[in-house]
């Protein structure tokens, strides 16, 4: 039935994707790798935006923090890639919570403007090489390859499996979130904060937690992004990237796993496949946003209620 398909669509996509390297060329494998990374970032944006209902238009910051933590630790201090991931998660989560703490009482559009401000500050910090660790406008090169039990993962297939694993973990976490008090509380806050607080929900705590979780997950994706490209530079974490992530969630379907995955495909995979048309992607996506918002305000693949 429709409901169970919707519920398991993430699992179906994930298993199907795992088989792709057996049949596809290297360019397809790297496209899927990028898809996996951006899908995780989009899912992490959805935690804050689609689930907890906070207009976060600076989510690329947390993705960038994760990527730069990995780049700096690996290139300058020689920390193995996979060891940098937990650090990237924790640092991104802390940044997310610290930035969120003074902001979460802001409503809707005010929060949105504040998050844009943070994204700009973050970009300026990277470009101006604050602290002498970010490499300025050029970023950081020569990020190493991850190794597992002594085996270096340098092939596209190997990196793909790593990226796909993280996507799988993210999908499981999102699925669990839907079935837990935490996920419900996020929705209560999104739908009616006053009603939620009069039922005992500490809104501030849960909103900061939403930022922490969303940022932490984006940080993990950042590690793999830095690894996949072997380089990081400020341009990957600018305001426009945050807008894209925001659009993926809104257009795809808030709090809907298939919706967010579909949005990621439209925004990151389609332009890669039709490279000649890539320059039109913002035009096409902009038009798509307008059409979807008018005709289907819940998103292309909206969340469905799950009867228990």
């Amino acid at each position: 039935m429709k409901l169970s398909v919707n519920r398991n669509i993430g699992a179906v996509v994930w298993i199907a994707g795992l088989l792709v390297p057996l049949v596809a060329s290297n360019s397809w494998i790297s496209i899927l790798s990028i898809f996996a990374i951006y899908a995780v970032v989009a899912l992490s944006t959805d935690v804050v935006l689609g689930r907890a209902g906070m207009y976060d238009m600076g989510h690329a910051v947390y993705f960038g923090v994760g990527a730069y933590v990995t780049a700096i630790l690996n290139v300058q201090y020689g920390v193995p890639i996979l060891w940098t991931m937990p650090i990237a998660v924790v640092v991104a989560a802390i940044v997310g919570m610290v930035l969120a703490a003074p902001m979460v009482k802001l409503r809707g559009d005010y929060l949105l403007v504040a998050t844009i401000g943070f994204n700009e500050i973050f970009r300026m910090i990277l470009i101006n090489d604050v602290g002498g660790v970010t490499g300025g406008p050029d970023g950081i090169f020569g990020i190493g390859v991850p190794s597992v039990f002594g085996y270096s993962i340098s092939s596209q297939e190997g990196l793909f499996v790593l990226n796909w694993l993280l996507l799988g973990i993210a999908l499981v976490l999102m699925n669990n979130l839907d079935k837990s008090r935490l996920g419900r509380v996020f929705r209560y806050l999104k739908e009616d904060e006053l009603a939620a607080t009069t039922l005992g929900v500490n809104a501030r705590y849960y909103k900061i937690l939403a930022f922490g979780l969303g940022a932490g997950l984006a940080g993990a994706a950042g590690t793999l992004f830095a690894t996949q490209l072997a380089t990081v530079s400020p341009s990957a974490f600018v305001f426009m990237e945050s807008v894209t992530l925001f659009a993926i969630v809104i257009v795809g379907g808030q709090a809907s796993i298939p919706g967010v995955l579909l949005g990621t495909v439209l925004m990151f995979v389609v332009p890669q496949v039709f490279r000649d048309l890539a320059e039109y992607r913002y035009l096409v996506f902009g038009l798509a946003m307008i059409v979807v918002m008018v005709l289907r305000p819940q998103g292309i693949w909206p969340r469905r209620n799950r009867p228990e």
Partner: protein
């Protein structure tokens, strides 16, 4: 109800101003354990404001709110809820797009043990608790005759049913004091008769009730004690019978009943 029961809630000279408007002034009110207390008054008298002060939505400009003798004014709403004071809203505030069951589960928030990481990891204990919570909520839905709509989207249901869902949600929190803000508004005669019975059942289960209501049928039949306010001040209080015959009350409130109904109809 005997008056020897301990006082649960006391408003001690509560006042609040919005700009130049004195919405509530020098209000004293006592709710004893096991009572059903009615707060009535003309529209704009400040009844909902009083509820907002009690539940922490507004901070009073002066005076104290005492819960079992302890001042709770100034506490945020979620801390007031932690003490066992739960409310419904005059304009129903259900979580839109969520099922009736999910709405009622919200009432279980404070009775839920699972940590956020247990939820993300979906531990066996967390899954057991979720199952348990759902069963408890289904029981509550059954007693309010709502079990047949448990999986419907709450905000798509008829108005009278939504009111019951909101009440079920607060009952799920096992309140000590239940505050009902015009529970009969928008209900038909059958539904409001049913509401009378529900309120008395709630009281008999050991929950103290404070309610604002315009429907005199409900107020006179279920309350043990009535407080009448007008323009933010208390003008009378006593048993339903004495309030019914109080000339001040008739002038301030009942005499304007027709206007009330008209305004209600447009509300």
């Amino acid at each position: 109800m005997s008056t020897s029961e301990p006082t649960l809630l006391a408003l001690d000279n509560i006042g609040i101003s919005f700009g130049g408007l004195r919405a509530v002034d020098q209000l004293n009110l006592e709710v004893k354990k096991g009572q059903v207390v009615g707060l009535i008054g003309p529209n704009g008298a400040g009844k909902t404001t009083v509820f907002n002060i009690i539940t922490g939505v507004y901070k009073p400009t002066d005076g104290r709110v005492l819960w079992k003798g302890e001042a709770i004014n100034g506490l945020p709403p979620y801390r007031v809820a932690q003490r066992g004071i739960l409310r419904t809203f005059q304009t129903i505030r259900l979580f839109s797009g969520m099922s009736v069951l999910e709405n009622v589960l919200a009432g279980k928030h404070l009775r839920t043990r699972q940590t956020w990481w247990a939820g993300l990891l979906s531990t066996p204990a967390q899954r057991r608790e979720e199952k348990q919570l759902r069963e408890e909520c289904m029981e509550i839905l059954k007693t309010l005759k709502l079990d047949h709509v448990a999986n419907e989207v709450a905000t798509s249901l008829a108005y009278g049913i939504q009111r019951r869902v909101e009440m079920a949600r607060t009952l799920a929190a096992s309140p000590e004091l239940l505050i009902l803000d015009e529970p009969a508004a928008g209900l038909n005669d059958n539904e409001s008769a049913e509401l009378n019975k529900t309120i008395l059942d709630i009281r008999d289960s050991g929950v103290t009730v404070l309610l604002v209501e315009h429907d005199m049928n409900v107020v006179m039949n279920v309350t043990d004690h009535i407080v009448v306010i007008s323009f933010g001040r208390k003008i009378a209080e006593g048993e339903p019978e004495s309030i019914r015959n109080n000339p001040d009350v008739i002038e301030a409130y009942l005499g304007k009943d027709d206007d009330e109904d008209e305004q209600e109809a447009f509300a």
